[in-house]
């Protein structure tokens, strides 16, 4: 069974069917979307089952010729999953039913369009994580911009048009530079197959690797977003409908970190070693700066959006520490951030649907009125700040450990971010949930209903599972990441060798002049 093709294109098929289906009833459309995403979740489970944790290379590979570029370069439609992508595929498959279910709370108009874009989105995201051909990857990479653009632009908040266009153009600017690099890479190497490209790229000198790395890294750094490129994110998050925010935080941003890992570090190891200090600094600064941004927010959604900048700083920091713990931790943290930030956005969406405000001041004492909501909110906050026993702890701990090996100073700076993170999230929790009920209209807010609990519970369960036994998750990523590490190690040796060779003639020359 072509499992990966199915998991990629079943949503698209569902989107086409729902677009054309003669259904008048919004409820039926919603159920249809939920059904399709559930089918895909089952497919995701099958992929997870079929994935061999001991194997480092691509698995479940499917490949057929697609078309030929001038210069007789065959482009293949080829999909595969490995340790770098398996968690992301699973996360996407798992999150989408939740998103589909959450949508009935805040998407009341133009439901058909919404479910279509939602499903197209899933196809785009799966394609990005599964593509093992450069052209196919780029294809999905750019296409995945479009659905979110519509979701933001149609169902977003009041400043949505500004936010959508900003989001689209920022990402596109990076993507187009990557396009030129991808073309250069294709023609230098004479192939578009990612495995062969990686092999070829590893043999190039530092200049070639450096330029290509820079172009690819720019695109991904904008997507993550790494610090100086982060300004689109709070706008996009704040204006997006809840489901858009969850997808954005849960999966789309991970496309950036995933790209940095697969195309930046794994493909151009020498350049990555050279650029690592810069990225580690950007990551560490991002952690602290994001935290300060979050502290200054009065809008709780914007606060969580800024906390994303901070949390993704950890991922970047750990990744570019280029150590075993750092790499594993950052891949794990990609999932963790998706879960806990996804939860927070869902909860903020739920309270917004009741109260139509996201200002912290508008709340207070909600725990008395909505105890279930308060429970889930506190749970999510604790997961987000990395309480031991929940998912966030394992990832953060591994990242800090890994980056300490590479740079104790930066690790120390990053640790302060953990504290600041606790400060702003707990402050928000206190202002919203505890104390007296300061606003009269908050007294009769209905607590969460069965649907809402039903969509939050699976995420919370997964948070606990990942916190208590991260083994199954880490072990699936380990072989592929070990291979990346081996490449980095050999790149380091090459660089050292080059440095000694470079110094040697100079020394000899000096001796001669003497």
């Amino acid at each position: 069974m072509p499992l990966l093709t199915l998991i990629t294109f079943v949503p698209l098929l569902g989107a086409v069917l729902l677009a054309l289906a003669p259904l008048k009833d919004d409820r039926a459309l919603r159920l249809g979307a939920l059904g399709v995403t559930l089918v895909n979740a089952v497919l995701g489970l099958l992929v997870w089952q079929g994935f061999d944790p001991a194997e480092a290379g691509l698995q479940l590979v499917e490949s057929t010729p697609w078309f030929e570029l001038p210069g007789a370069i065959a482009v293949n439609y080829s999909l595969g999953v490995d340790g770098i992508s398996i968690l992301m595929v699973a996360l996407t498959a798992f999150l989408m039913p939740v998103v589909a279910l959450s949508a009935s709370g805040h998407v009341k108009q133009r439901v058909r369009e919404f479910v279509v874009w939602l499903l197209v989105m899933e196809t785009g995201m799966m394609g990005v994580f599964l593509a093992s051909d450069l052209v196919l990857f780029y294809f999905f990479w750019e296409i995945s911009l479009v659905p979110l653009y519509f979701m933001l632009g149609i169902w977003g908040g009041s400043r949505r048009l500004y936010a959508t266009v900003k989001f689209f153009l920022y990402t596109l600017a990076g993507s187009l530079v990557m396009l030129v690099a991808a073309i250069a890479l294709t023609y230098q190497a004479g192939t578009t197959d990612l495995a062969r490209l990686t092999e070829w790229a590893g043999m190039q000198d530092l200049t070639m690797q450096g330029w290509l790395f820079a172009a690819f890294a720019l695109a991904f750094a904008i997507k993550v977003p790494v610090l100086p490129f982060h300004t689109w994110l709070p706008d996009a998050h704040t204006e997006a409908p809840t489901s858009g925010s969850v997808i954005l935080a849960g999966v789309l941003l991970k496309m950036g970190t995933y790209g940095l890992l697969r195309f930046g570090i794994a493909m151009f190891p020498m350049a990555a070693v050279e650029a690592a200090p810069l990225f580690m600094v950007l990551g560490a600064v991002g952690i602290v700066y994001g935290a300060f941004l979050a502290m200054a927010q009065t809008d709780v959604k914007r606060l969580v959006a800024c906390s994303s900048v901070s949390h993704l700083g950890y991922v970047v920091l750990g990744m570019f520490a280029l150590t075993t713990a750092g790499l594993r931790g950052s891949v794990l943290q990609m999932v963790n951030h998706g879960l806990s930030t996804g939860l927070l956005f869902l909860l903020i969406g739920m309270i917004y649907e009741r109260r139509h405000s996201r200002e912290l001041d508008a709340y207070g004492g909600i725990a008395k009125v909505m105890p279930t909501f308060a429970f889930f909110f506190v749970f999510s906050v604790l997961s987000s700040v990395g309480l031991p026993g929940l998912n966030g702890f394992v990832g953060e701990w591994m990242i800090l450990l890994g980056s300490f090996e590479a740079s104790p100073t930066l690790a120390a700076i990053a640790v302060t971010g953990v504290i600041f993170g606790a400060v702003y999230l707990l402050r928000a929790t206190r202002l919203m949930l505890f104390g007296p009920v300061t606003h009269e209209e908050n007294e009769r807010l209905p607590d969460l209903d069965a649907r809402e609990i039903g969509l939050l519970a699976p995420l919370c369960l997964l948070c606990v599972v990942m916190g208590v036994m991260p083994g199954p998750f880490v072990e699936r990523t380990a072989p592929a990441l070990d291979r990346v590490e081996a490449r980095i190690q050999s790149a380091r040796e090459q660089l050292e060798l080059a440095a000694t060779l470079h110094d040697a003639p100079a020394v000899a020359g000096e001796e001669r002049t003497r």
Binding site: W66, F67, E68, L69, P70, G71, A72, R110, E113, V135, Y138, F139, F140, E142, I143, L145, V146, Y149, F150, G153, I154, R160, L161, T164, V165, F168, L169, L172, A173, L176, V177, L179, V180, I183, A184, T186, Y187
Partner: protein, 487 residues
Amino acid sequence: MNPEILNELYAGAGAALAPLLWLAAGLSAVLIADVFAGLKAVRPVLVPLTLGGAAWSAGALISDPAGAVLGGSFLADARTGAFALVFLASAALAWAQARRYYTEEAPFLGEHDALLLTAPMGMILMAGAQDLILFFVGLELLSIPLYCLSAFRRARTESVEAGLRYFVLGAFGVALFLMGAALLYTLTGSVSLEGLAAAKELLASPMGATGLALLLASLFFKAGVAPFHLWVPDVYQGAPTPIASLMATGTKAAAFAFLLRLVPALPAEAGVGLGLVAVVTMAIGNLGALGQTDLKRLFAWSGVAHAGTLLLVIAGAVAAGGTDHQEAVRNAAFSATLLYVAAYAFSAGGALGLVAWMEADGEEYRSLSRWQGLGTVRPGVAAGMTLFALSLGGIPATGGFLGKWLAFSTAVRAELVPLAVLGALTSVVALGYYLRIVVDLWMRPRPEDAAAPSAERPLAAFAAGFSAAMVLALGVAPGLLLGRLIG
């Protein structure tokens, strides 16, 4: 003339000229049918029949090239055949859009259709021309019908003005061409492209360079490349929309088809210069389009930007001259140009077709503001416009994306990487205005005073649907359509 010489001259010319013969026969038939009242009924069938026949014989050239005929001045190879298909598709789209488009001019549709069938003849001659004389014939055969067609709505000042402007500036462009050709002939004693390519050293002299520059200037004028682009927005705006569509897609494609033929005659050093002109054109076109509120002007400026991208391909082909991968890059330049103009023909042709369709509900539909919220009342039209806009912007799953990929890859392979990067960045600006269309269509409410457009035009709808299918097919399965030609 000695009949034997004639025999030799026209040997094998039947198959080579078949697309032209179809068009010539068809336009004659249209004119005759226009005269006799009894034949009025067959007129609507004649044009698609002619275009279909021409396309069939052009398709035959791809699988079975007829080679050089007419004493070597017209080369009917697979490339000519492939470009001919693009021209014929542009003409067919323009014809489909023109049905029920004209109101007071409707009695003169016979002339309109005859002129519409003449223009592709000129385009095909341009694409297959092997010497400057035949090219000139093609250029005039293309231009003169378009001068008339631009001014076809003779009761309207804007249309007449567009025709006159295009004519006066076109005459100027033609003069540049003749001057350049004369200089080159004086210098090399040859008007054939082969002869020019063989006399490359002579062309490096100031006189040769001037001649080539004048030649290029006239081609840039037709294609709308900066700094010869200023007529484009005014003429497109004033001309009837179907004609603007034909000018945007067909004329541009024909100019670039001939530029590809001209590449061997150009010195490799000119590559970087051409690339700079290309990037400047892209920047000017995209910045120009950014502030437009009239859709026809917007697509005109965007057409200038697309001409810039196509010129980047030519620049790559020129810059690769003399290197060991010259042939590879030039073949790639051909594939890139072909795919790009094909995708552009269906995207821009489709988009302008939708404008023409909506104009039936009032000319205010030329203004983007009238399209606000159209997604809620006419989802099909809005979806089509969205697809065409995304294709023009080069978003994947559309032909525009693959065209962009191939275009930039030609430049990158010719080592014009910085220019490719600059060009890529200008297309971010392009998305700025293409997205504005999408924003207006789907993300803004319908203006209170705007009634839902009601005009049903089955043929225009069919043309738009066909364009949309082609845009998607070129983007998702390019091998199906162009497999034989690409690679």
